[in-house]
Amino acid sequence: MGVVTPARPAAKARPARAATRVRHRDGWWAALFLAPQVIGLLAFLVFPLGFAVVLAFMKWDGLGEKSWAGFDNFAAQLSDPDFGTAVWNTVKLAFLTVPVGLALALLIALALNQVKGKTFYRVVYFLPVVTSSVAVAVMWQIILASGDYGVLNRTVYDWFGIALPNWLEDPGWVIVSIAVVTIWSSLGLNVVIFLAGLQTIPPALMEAARIDGAGPIRVFRSVTLPMISPTVFFSTVVAVISSFQAFDQIYVLVNPDHNDGARTIVYQIYDLGFQNFEFGMSSAAALILLVLTLLVTLVQFGVQKRFVHYDS
């Protein structure tokens, strides 16, 4: 360019070096502050994920030698009827829990948004979320158990003489029972998120709509829903991923080992790895789940462009 950089006076060089030293020192401090997060991420996410990917192509019982299996584990899982059952049950669970759970949470949030003492209700609805999932499962086990053992069945039979189904053991009902428990235990989280979303809507916008003659349904459809659509989208993504990862409550609530109706993908992963000691197969199933989750999430992100409004 023909521009000649003028030679710096010697006196100016020292502050420049000092600035570099400060930048280096700040870099070290930054690294130190970041260390806990980075180490945690590497130890508990990157390394296990990498190890699982490697294991998916190996045959390993957890103690002995690992041997190369290529794509055998994937092929075995994709042709295993148990895996098919697990995928189907997981999809059913997602279809039951996500729309019903989110719609219910939105309804409750809309109601709470109108009342005084929101904090109290928020705490009440949030209690199941902070309760141990095992405790929740045991409580629902007591409610839903069959015959004389179950609070629900016994009460209904004693009062009305109606024999209700065997909620936790009948293959046709078990996934519905799991869905009810899942919705109940996650409702509070979605209510709180929706409530937060509702409170970000400028009151002037609602008021303007009402002045223009919009009724409550029109206000909800044309103002509230578009305004909280990013929140709905976020909750949907999280709910779908959570339903794909359902395990702990199901493990305690029913015994999927003896009830194919409750076998989900994560139970299949656990069963293969920690009951059958087929860690390669288990990792392959986990990777298939990862791909499924990614695909569904990508579809959600694709669809959201048409329904989610990010402008305020």
Binding site: G40, A43, F44, D61, A145, G147, N166, Q275, N276, F277
Partner: protein
């Protein structure tokens, strides 16, 4: 905006947090990898087991007694309530080198730990002067997969021989006049007679027998038909004609409800309830069944008999066993072995099995079973223990194989898979696993 805390202090806190989290996530520590002598010269021995609250209470009694006699040893017991949750945890601990010094291993899992080389060989130690029991104090058959090429890797803690419990009233209501235990004493307790009784119970609107879906029941029935399960390292249960006949009889019995699988019965009308109500004549189980029949309040109504045989002569029956094994990586092997040998010794078993539902594995502690005179033929439990077998070494050496066999058979029992197809698939599963 300025902060009163310096960057150095914050960084130190961040590092301390990292160290704490890392340490917290590195396992329970101690024992195998770091359980050396603590302050005061005491040695900590970690040991793990599964068990109910009642079992744990019995073990605590043993622990307290042991620590009184060995003041230099601190025992740290780690328990898991459910059997099916125990081995996954143990496997994880062994893989990460944080397993206890001494641990229980189930008969369906011991083979793979032996094959993996994580258990300490015990022959020399058991023959040594510090051993409180010798290898021959335990019946050969109950070592199962804990013994390989003559080397012992786990000592039977206690056992539970699989026998048939029967309700005398239920049998009588079905028009059965002969007593199974008396037939057995006369050498006339045959499979044909047993199936005849089951048919009569079915005709009377009852179930013939209740079985838990595990190798103990299934292989005992196969034995009763004169069949084999494993032969020359090969799984022959689906190919040996007598074994296949046994499995087909079971499948047909489950289909027409002559037999009921306890695993799939609803909680409201489970196996215990049905047996106590007299809607099933026989219930295969171990000595632990005493607690079940006690709940019925009619103890004299129940007695036991071994599984029948083809000819009426005694045959080896299945024995559920668990083993106490020494971690090969234990840093306190001497103290760990002292604990192990005392735990499985006659004195140890007399102390910890009193009031429980198990049968001692060691010879000389028979009074545990006989002193209550219940059931009337309690000696049967000891006879089956002395002549019986723990799960086949060939089977338990393959991780997860027993479970896969059981899972697949349950599909056949519940009619999800047709018998012929089920047998073909079962053979393929086993062949695929053993390679």
């Amino acid at each position: 905006m300025s902060f009163p805390i310096s960057k150095k202090a914050l960084a130190a806190a961040a590092l301390a947090l990292t160290a704490t989290v890392t340490a917290a996530c590195s396992g329970s520590g101690g024992g195998t990898t770091g359980g050396g002598a603590s302050a005061g010269g005491k040695v900590t021995i970690r040991w793990s087991t599964w068990g109910s609250a009642e079992d744990v209470a019995l073990y605590k009694g043993f622990n307290d007694d042991f620590m009184k006699r060995h003041p230099n040893v601190v025992l740290k017991m780690e328990t898991v309530p459910k059997y099916e949750d125990y081995h996954p945890k143990l496997l994880t601990q062994l893989t990460s080198k944080t397993a206890p010094d001494v641990f229980f291993v189930g008969d369906d899992n011991v083979g793979k730990f032996v094959a993996a080389g994580v258990l300490s060989p015990l022959n020399d130690k058991l023959a040594g002067p510090d051993s409180k029991s010798k290898p021959e104090d335990f019946s050969e058959g109950i070592y199962g997969g804990a013994k390989k090429d003559g080397q012992i890797y786990g000592v039977p803690n206690d056992t539970n021989p699989e026998v048939l419990w029967y309700g005398k009233k239920a049998l009588k209501e079905a028009g059965i006049t002969e007593d199974p235990a008396e037939l057995n004493a006369a050498g006339k307790w045959t499979m044909a007679k047993y199936l005849e009784m089951n048919a009569k119970l079915k005709a009377a609107g009852k179930a013939g027998s209740l079985f838990w879906n595990w190798y103990g029941s299934t292989y005992s029935v196969i034995g009763g038909f004169g069949g084999k399960v494993w032969d020359g390292g090969r799984f022959v249960a689906t190919t040996d004609p007598k074994s296949r006949k046994a499995l087909e009889t079971l499948a047909k019995g489950y289909a027409d409800k002559t037999f009921l699988s306890a695993d799939v019965l609803p909680a409201s009308n489970g196996a215990n309830t049905q047996f106590l109500k007299g809607t099933a004549g026989f219930f295969a189980g171990g000595r632990w069944m005493i607690d079940v029949v006690k709940k019925g309040g009619d103890l004299p109504n129940y007695d036991i008999v071994p599984f029948p045989s083809e000819t009426g002569q005694p045959i080896p029956g299945a024995v559920a066993a668990s083993y106490l094994a020494l971690n090969k990586d234990s840093k306190n092997a001497k103290e760990a072995f002292t604990f192990l040998t005392e735990f499985v010794s006659k004195e140890g078993q007399l102390l910890r099995l009193k009031g429980g539902g198990a049968v001692p594995s060691v010879k000389g502690a028979e009074q545990i079973v006989l002193e209550g005179n219940y059931p009337a033929h309690a000696q049967t439990l000891l006879d089956v223990r002395d002549t019986g077998f723990a799960n086949y070494p060939e089977e338990v050496a393959v991780p997860g194989l027993t479970k896969e066999i059981n899972d697949h058979l349950l599909k056949v029992w519940t009619g999800k898979v047709a018998f012929e197809q089920g047998m073909t698939e079962l053979q393929a599963i086993v062949d695929g696993k053993i390679g």
